[in-house]
């Protein structure tokens, strides 16, 4: 073997928006070894959570990741409910499911856009993100926020979904389906995309099992592993649905799994909204007894795991978080080695990595010219939500304003 060259990807690289460092050892254009270095983002959120009360920690874990901002509080509240042995009211379960599935839609669209961008297909990037905006608007109508919905609390949800909002939301969701179908066709039927993604970065079923791959990464390799089915929570056991599995484990299959799941999630949100049961939304927890609890939920990227230990006070004695990317990262060893540098980038992105999920950090930047105080921000945010609500289900209303 000749002289080896090292191609660095990161810590700052246009490929991914988060700091992470891949050392690709290459021979010509072929990658012969990969080393992953993360940890640029460590924030010590587990320790932080242990210094806050159970209620406050819900908001702390929500800020672990901007995209999985439902998955973490969901898993955390489930861990606490596991400590108590509490069954959440049915309506709260449905609302949680709606929010979690809405998050899956926007997360998968975000990934689809980024994958297009990494392949130099910027039209897919912009279109997917445009559709994602509509979903974010739906989330804003339902929860008041584009992201970090703050809907969860131990024992239930913090806000109810109003009856009068539901028709508008369903209309809005329906309006994006034709465009999404078009995007799906553009991605799944494109011969050039086939050439770039089929048979690239294959993760075989055995490798996926050995590396403990999770979520869409595992499902694309033929493993029917989905917590929503395996140990149902929320309203998932009341909805009739099937796990989407493909067999090849290449980048194309990972994309297909995510696109099909997007449609499935849209369907789930609509069905949940139409069949919202009429019960309480909160179990009104007073005390959390000593004990240990585990909360697992199926985040868009795979299983999100929270462990909470209570000693009878109002704070968690121990809080352990494991994000799905942590388990999916090692699969790079199986998928990237042996491929070319051009393919390496899309393979690195194919697991939908979320390093801030895995490492947990938040930065408050106060260098802006005008500093809004909390009240200003709340007022601005509420005004915007009202604006979106008054637009109703109109799709593409935003483009008209930006001429």
């Amino acid at each position: 073997m000749g002289k080896r060259t090292i191609v660095p990807i990161g810590p700052y690289h246009p490929l991914q928006e988060e700091p992470e460092f891949f050392t690709l050892t290459v021979d010509g254009e072929t990658v012969i070894d990969i080393d992953v270095q993360i940890g640029y983002n460590h924030r010590g959120i587990e320790k932080l959570s242990e210094r806050k009360t159970f209620d406050q920690s819900t908001f702390a874990v929500e800020r672990i990741c901007g995209i999985c901002s439902t998955s973490h509080p969901y898993a955390y509240t489930r861990a606490i409910e596991d400590v108590i042995g509490l069954e959440v009211p049915l309506r709260a379960k449905y609302i949680r499911t709606i929010i979690a599935e809405g998050e899956r839609i926007h997360s998968h669209l975000l990934w689809l856009g980024l994958a297009g961008h990494f392949l130099g297909y910027n039209t897919v990037y912009m279109w997917a993100w445009k559709l994602r905006e509509e979903i974010l608007d739906v989330m804003e109508i339902l929860s008041g926020n584009r992201n970090n919905y703050a809907m969860f609390k131990p024992g239930g949800v913090r806000r109810d979904i109003k009856k009068e909002d539901i028709p508008g939301v369903i209309k809005k969701i329906d309006s994006i389906i034709p465009t999404l179908e078009m995007l799906k066709k553009a991605v799944i039927d494109d011969p050039v995309l086939h050439a770039r993604t089929k048979g690239v970065g294959v993760l075989t079923k055995e490798e996926a099992i050995n590396f403990c791959a999770l979520g869409p990464t595992a499902r694309a390799s033929g493993i029917a592993r989905d917590l929503r089915k395996d140990c149902p929570y929320g309203a998932y056991d009341r909805l009739n649905w099937d796990i989407i599995v493909t067999d090849n484990g290449d980048v194309f299959d990972k994309a297909v799994v995510r696109i099909l799941e997007t449609f499935q999630s849209i369907d789930m949100v609509k069905r949940c909204l139409l069949s919202l049961p009429d019960t309480e939304i909160d179990a009104n927890i007073k005390n959390i007894p000593p004990g240990e609890g585990i909360g697992q939920i199926e985040a868009p990227r795979g299983e999100c795991f929270h462990y909470v230990k209570s000693d009878g006070t109002n704070r968690p004695a121990r809080h352990k978080i494991r994000a799905p990317t942590f388990m999916n990262l090692p699969t790079y060893k199986a998928t990237v080695v042996g491929e070319t540098i051009s393919d390496a980038t899309i393979i690195l992105a194919a697991i939908d990595p979320c390093y801030c999920c895995t490492e947990r950090m938040a930065v408050v930047n106060q260098k802006g010219k005008k500093l809004y105080n909390g009240e200003d921000l709340v007022r601005l945010s509420q005004a915007k939500t009202e604006k979106i609500k008054s637009r109703g289900g109109k799709f593409a209303a935003r483009t008209k304003g930006i001429k």
Binding site: V7, N122, M126, A195, I341, T345
Partner: protein, 307 residues
């Protein structure tokens, strides 16, 4: 003296202006396709002026002379090509024999300057980009030359661009014939690769190798490269226009026709770049040496048959 005027006025200023405008058209159309607003008309010029005012940094360990001379080599060749093309369009009778060969040679120089600049900048990513550019040049030059043979054959085995133009004035555009149409398709793909646009932006691939050969460039040399690329966005479609679409004439209403043809070509290039993902370098080579070369050979064969 007249040549100097052509060189400065047509070769540089007019070409640069049209090139900057074309790059604005490209960016605006792209933006509208992607649900974005897009930049104002002057944005390409503003970018250029801003870059000219920035500090020029030469990386440690780089070969200073080749690093700084490479962009000028590329720009110089583009200006020369553009001068020859303009001169041909405006005075089809006064050109020299073999100018088409000179143009083809000079059109390789921009790619060559990028290769030299990339290797001179002593950066692993730039080296990868340069070697990709080299492979890309090797792959598209063969179909490019074969496609150019078609107008040469149709114009009566002439090596003068002027005669090809006169032929088209008398017998209709070459694009209208079967061989011309096939060759046009081939040359359009080659131009896409020469311009390093998606799907053939492999040498620069921002999300893979961070701009490739241009990674270490800053300030004025980068501005020169950008200007070179913008001017190529005029020169290459203009070359296609002369070869296949009857060029650009100032007489009567022909100049409107010429502008429409040019804008149509730019729009076509933009649409191609917006509806495709980037291919891998081996796929690009296979594409050019396989289907494109075969198509170009068929075109040459048809042209010899007189179709």
């Amino acid at each position: 003296m007249i040549y100097l005027i052509y060189l400065i006025i047509f070769g540089f200023f007019l070409t640069a202006l049209i090139g900057l405008f074309a790059s604005w058209v490209d960016r605006k159309v792209t933006a509208r396709v992607q649900y974005r607003v897009g930049p104002p008309v002057l944005q390409p010029l503003i970018d250029l002026v801003k870059l000219l005012g920035k500090e020029t940094m030469v990386p440690k360990g780089a070969s200073k002379f080749s690093f700084l001379a490479a962009p000028l080599l590329g720009l110089g060749s583009v200006i020369l090509v553009s001068t020859i093309l303009w001169f041909n369009c405006l005075n089809p009778q006064r050109t020299f024999i073999g100018d088409i060969i000179v143009v083809v040679y000079l059109l390789v120089l921009p790619s060559l300057s990028i290769i030299i600049g990339g290797f001179a900048s002593a950066n692993p990513l730039a080296s990868i980009g340069s070697s990709r550019e080299m492979k890309l040049v090797l792959s598209y030059e063969l179909p490019f030359l074969l496609a150019i043979l078609v107008p040469v054959i149709q114009g009566g085995f002439t090596l003068r661009l002027g005669e090809i133009l006169t032929y088209q004035v008398q017998n209709g555009v070459i694009l209208g014939s079967w061989s011309g149409f096939l060759a046009f398709l081939v040359i359009l793909m080659c131009v896409q690769a020469k311009l390093a646009l998606v799907p053939f932006d492999i040498p620069e691939a921002e999300t893979e190798i961070v701009g490739g050969p241009l990674i270490e460039y800053s300030g004025t040399p980068l501005a020169v490269y950008k200007l070179m690329k913008n001017m190529l966005l005029f020169v290459l479609p203009f070359f296609i226009m002369i070869l296949f679409m009857g060029g650009f004439r100032l007489s009567g209403a022909h100049w409107i026709n010429g502008i429409l043809k040019y804008l149509g070509l730019v729009a076509l290039i933009t649409v191609i770049r917006n509806t495709n993902p980037r291919v891998r370098i081996d796929q690009a080579m296979r594409f050019f040496w396989g289907p494109m070369t075969i198509l170009a050979m068929m075109a040459v064969f048809l042209a010899l048959k007189g179709l």
